[in-house]
């Protein structure tokens, strides 16, 4: 099975490139995929789903032409196949109202303001992919260098109780 995917969505190519650079620590264990629009991301998600590939995380910008990030994430939550994918809203501009919508309707997992710091990005990505990996039953042992220890322990503890 191929590596789980981390999908980045932003209409600006240079931002995607910068994001990819900061996601380098995850490159060994995840496939970083870049999309320049919500539509492109939708098509990609359908493709991955058809191939049986797993998506561990979605990092999405908000202000984009045609469909904006929050609307895209709200729609995603309605689709059974994709609603469980954790999401990070990474944005330079979102009004108070937009943010409330993102939290309430799109159920985003994290909100990061641009410009981001690499440490902040790493921590949030790590926490979310750790949880995502464990919940999808993926073999996590190989990924430990980039997994978040606290989340790992918490998830394993929950697992133990379920048994």
């Amino acid at each position: 099975m191929s590596n789980p995917k981390i999908i980045c969505i932003d209409d600006q190519r240079d931002v995607l490139a910068a994001l990819q650079k900061d996601l380098k620590p995850f490159e060994e264990y995840f496939e970083i995929l870049l999309c320049e629009s919500a539509q492109e991301a939708e098509e990609l998600l359908q493709e991955l789903d058809a191939n049986g590939d797993a998506t561990a995380l979605l990092i999405c910008d908000h202000v984009m032409p045609n469909k904006n990030g929050i609307d895209f994430l709200i729609e995603l939550k309605k689709e059974q196949h994709f609603s469980a994918i954790p999401t990070i809203l990474l944005t330079g501009l979102a009004t108070h109202k937009d943010t409330i919508e993102a939290i309430n309707k799109a159920n985003i997992d994290r909100y990061i303001e641009k410009p981001w710091t690499p440490d902040e990005l790493f921590k949030n990505v790590s926490e979310l992919v750790t949880r995502s990996i464990l919940r999808s039953g993926f073999d996590y042992k190989k990924l430990t260098p980039v997994l978040d220890q606290e989340v790992l322990l918490k998830e394993l503890r929950h697992r133990a109780f379920d048994l």
Partner: protein, 461 residues
Amino acid sequence: MNTGNQTTYPIDISTARITWLMDTYFSDPKKRIELKSGDVLLKENECNDRLYAVKEGVLTGYIRTSNGDPCETFKAKKQALIGIPSFFSGRLISLSTVVAETDAVVNFIDRSQPFVPDGDHCSLAEQFMPMIVSELVHRQIRVQMMAIEREKTLKMLGHHEKMAALGKISAGIAHELNNAIAVLMRNSAWLADRFREFIEKEATKGSVFFEKGLKEGRSAASAYVRKQTKTLMDQTGIPKKAAEQVAQMMLDQKVQDSLIQNGEETIAGMFSCWDTGVTIKDMMVASDHAVHVLKSMKELGAPQTDRVPGIDVNATIHEALALLSSPLRKVQVELSLVNVPTITAAKGELVQTWMNLIQNACESMDAGNLDEPRLAVTTTVSGKGILVSVRDNGPGIPKESLKRIFDPNYTTKSGGKTFGLGLGLTIVERLVAQYQWKLSVTSEPGGTEFKVHIPVGGDYE
């Protein structure tokens, strides 16, 4: 209410009655005054014990506002009565200053005027009652309209103040950031030079890849890279990472084939040089973008430039088109400019207004990927003034967005190729508001039209 040559009253008064009053009380040649245009009949707050009727011409009533400016309160044409409030109230002090707008003739009666019986009424006041009531109604209507106008003006002022405040804050921020941007820009360029020297000395083969990246930037779309990666993997058997790197660089076929032959490690090395070039290019583009944004912000806060009379709107349109000749190269421009009266305005502000509208049109058509982008700029003249229209055949603005396009933060532009944070239309709106002109927009897929209406003549110059 004044329509045409004759005064019409807001309540119904028979022509017979008016004619009788005119003939009976206002036909004495000894009580006739001839006025030349500009003559003052009555002065505000001065004694007046006469009731005047307009026989010929037009007179205008004014009051002075708190800062001394005259404010027109009424226009009196033929058969209108002037002085009703002061005459019939016994107050005998004129409420307005009355000036002959054209050459005019008025007749008057004074307090010594004897009552002329008509078989119906018992006193002069009774005979004039309908006219008195009509005058009161008239004034009431005027007060209501003034109240509405005041509301509109207050709202507009509030809006103005907000825009002015926004402008001032923006200008301040822009000023602060300019230094930081300058540092970024200069240092990026310096970095490029240092790296160029280094790579020419240490890894000459990488030079050409570095320069390509630095010059062209990231030209490969993410979707293309994904597809091309698969193709390369199938065609050449190189591993995914190497294929992705080659795909991103978008090399000429020969260069690409040669590079692939050299294997994974060389590909990674050359890619690294390319990536460095592209990254520095990204920095320079970003700084450039920031500069343009700051420039727009500064313009938003700029103080009002001097307005002079005799400005030709058509000339300003020509100038705007000339300044945008580069983005307009691919666009078919249809100009239809009629002779327009000159106006009082600041030339630079007009040019900027048209530039922002035209630029907006270009960007919209660009985004729509039109085969035949067309821009139509027309001026027309009507009784009300000059109408300037800027029309494009782009994809249009969706209805929900129409209200927001003038918001300072609203932009649908992407890719860093076009600059500005959506302030273009905001600036247009601000300028139009300052001149008290009217701006309107209609849009549907296939056509968007912005119209600026410039009132000309009478009180507006």
